[in-house]
């Protein structure tokens, strides 16, 4: 790198300036809409009406709007619901996804190709469009307005994690299985004792991708969980459309409350999030 720095020409200085200015502008555009929301969330009603939206709030410890937002939308309860859904859906989808991928990757049996194509074709079906008839099935099964019904729907439509696991199994040498079987291990033992622990990177990837999509899921939650005490966090946020019309200081505090958990998650697991995105995309 040092040789390059020594050879710095006028051209490369101009390029550097251009590079930083463009990155700074893009970053500002990315964060300004959110930052303005943060400012507004801390403003009192009078302040909100009197000051420019771009001005700082007079008091960054004015949590009154947050309290109103949490109470109005019953957000604590909704966080609890979202938490339950997250834990169960993630556990189920990691287990079923990895088990299915194990069987599809390690055993060739009549129909395995067909099952593979069934999952592939399923990934083409547009999600929101399918909900029209899924709604009817949910209704007949009596799953509407039960947290478990919503959990089952979310666990059932999971194709991405299956592909992440399939891809990962392809790179786990079959000799691992064979030597374990020689040692007297059953197939169940091979999966749970030998292979599953090795899946850790794929599990993390699928947890990240699935976790983000479950936390942000709105459409199915809105359809299947209509009772106020069952709402998840994104549907709770949507309830702000009605009563608060233009009271953006309340709406913004609701928005900020839903963003905070995912922001913390992102800051802690940044590396895993980026690599999860990358390996999720290779799926093609």
């Amino acid at each position: 790198m040092s040789e390059i720095n020594d050879k710095k020409s006028v051209g490369s200085i101009i390029f550097s300036i251009f590079k930083y200015i463009s990155l700074i502008i893009a970053s500002l555009i990315s964060i300004i809409p959110v930052v303005v929301c943060v400012f507004t969330a801390f403003k009192t009603n009078e302040e909100y009406q009197a000051t420019s939206v771009l001005s700082l709030p007079s008091n960054f410890f004015n949590f009154e709007n947050f309290a109103i937002a949490i109470k109005q939308a019953n957000m604590l309860r909704c966080f609890l619901n979202t938490g339950i859904v997250l834990v169960v859906v993630l556990t189920v989808s990691v287990l079923t996804g990895s088990m299915l991928a194990y069987v599809l990757n390690r055993f060739k049996f009549p129909g395995s190709g067909l099952i593979n194509s069934l999952f592939l074709f399923a990934s083409l079906l547009p999600g929101i469009a399918m909900q029209v008839t899924i709604y009817q099935i949910m209704y007949q099964l009596g799953f509407i307005n039960h947290l478990y019904g919503y959990i089952i729907v979310l666990s059932g439509t999971d194709i991405i994690s299956i592909y992440i696991f399939l891809q990962f199994f392809e790179n786990l040498p079959i000799s691992l299985d064979e030597s374990a079987i020689m040692d007297g291990c059953t197939y169940f033992g091979v999966f749970f004792k030998i292979l599953f622990p090795l899946l850790k990177p794929a599990i993390i990837t699928s947890l990240v991708l699935k976790g983000v999509s479950v936390y942000n899921e709105y459409y199915a939650s809105n359809l299947y969980l209509t009772m106020p005490e069952l709402k998840t966090i994104s549907t709770a946020l949507y309830t702000f459309t009605g009563p608060y019309g233009n009271q953006y200081n309340y709406i913004c505090s609701g928005v900020i409350i839903t963003i905070i958990p995912i922001l913390i998650f992102f800051l802690v697991f940044q590396k895993q999030v980026y690599s999860g995105m990358a390996s999720g995309a290779v799926k093609g």
């Binding site: 990155l23 970053s27 299915l100 009817q136 099935i137 209704y139 850790k200 709406i251 940044q270 980026y274």
Partner: protein, 331 residues
């Protein structure tokens, strides 16, 4: 199964094989039961019903009347329906812009940048915000006299020249598509950057020592390594634009000509409860998506087959292997 463990010592090879076979059946059946049941109940039964219902005039509850292809005729004839597919064109335009921006910023970041992680995080984070929150953020952003208007006045624009971002039918779809660009550019950039980083960074240094300028580095080192991931993302974004839902749903509720196909379908299915018509809409969209996917495969087969494809494939493969190796090392 317990027997197979205790008797393992005395068994002949053929007997062992027998129990293996039984074990195979058991594991195949048990491991696939739940995923296949869910796939059947929540994907294929709804899919078959979707096709079936599309020929009926029906609500969720009550009687069905067979109407033949009348629903399909309605989908193509009603201006609010087939026309709403053209609203997707704005989102497709947005998708192309977003890919171009993502490519540009990823390229900027490949050449050493101080504070790279901060820029990357700032641009990526919008992707993680839920669609409803993004909707509210931009409802506020575009509202008359609020964020965008104030910013523009700060830069000296006269208030009377500022359009109504969400009401003016000439521009409101641009405003909405821009929110998608805002949300997804950073994520695309992270994907591209990942692919670019798979190229050995020594290559850039060697090239610049050999006198290659930035454009040459981009054209001959970066581009070949990420060609397939660009095409893949282009196809994904285009089918994504056909299914655009949240921006118009939250921000304008599909009013004033901003209703995308899914917004209209949602209204027809769940507010008007015209299930048959909504199913016909779903089938039409599915056909369009299948056509797009087939076109993508043809495109991958022929258009990209110019020799350099192997290079990019090799790069992707090498990257995958490197990742796997790194992961294994970490595990």
């Amino acid at each position: 199964m317990g027997g197979s463990v205790t008797n393992a010592g005395q068994k002949t090879f053929a007997q062992k094989l027998q129990t293996r076979k039984a074990q195979r059946y058991i594991i195949i059946v048990t491991f696939m039961f739940i995923p296949l049941l869910l796939l059947l109940v929540f994907t294929y039964i709804p899919f078959i019903k979707m096709v079936q219902f599309s020929f009926y005039d029906m609500k969720y509850i009550g009687t069905k009347t067979f109407v033949g292809i009348q629903n399909y005729i309605d989908v193509f004839k009603r201006p609010d329906m087939f026309g709403s597919l053209f609203v997707s064109v704005y989102y497709m335009g947005g998708a192309i812009l977003q890919l171009a921006l993502a490519l540009f910023f990823a390229t900027m970041m490949v050449f050493k940048v101080k504070g790279e992680s901060i820029f990357k995080a700032a641009m990526f984070f919008p992707y993680l915000i839920c669609g409803i929150a993004v909707g509210f953020i931009f409802k506020f952003f575009y509202a008359r006299g609020y964020v965008l208007d104030t910013l523009l006045q700060l830069f000296g624009m006269a208030p009377e020249n500022i359009p109504l971002w969400l009401q003016d039918q000439k521009i409101n779809n641009f405003s909405l598509a821009a929110t998608s660009v805002w949300r997804y550019t950073g994520q695309n950039m992270v994907l591209f950057l990942g692919a670019m980083m798979s190229v050995d960074t020594d290559l850039y240094e060697a090239a610049s020592l050999d006198g290659a300028n930035k454009w040459h580095q981009f054209r001959y080192i970066i581009m070949p390594s990420i060609k397939s991931i660009i095409v893949l993302n282009l196809v994904l974004s285009i089918s994504g634009s056909l299914s655009a839902f949240e921006p118009p749903y939250v921000i304008t509720n599909g009013q004033m000509g901003t209703g995308t196909y899914f917004v209209i379908m949602n209204r027809i299915a769940h507010e008007n409860q015209r299930v048959g018509l909504a199913c016909a809409m779903a089938v039409v969209l599915l056909v369009i998506i299948i056509i797009c996917t087939v076109a993508q495969n043809v495109f991958f087969k022929y258009a990209l087959n110019d020799g350099s494809e192997d290079e990019s494939k090799a790069a992707v493969k090498a990257k995958k292997q490197a990742q796997k190796a790194a992961k294994k090392g970490g595990a």
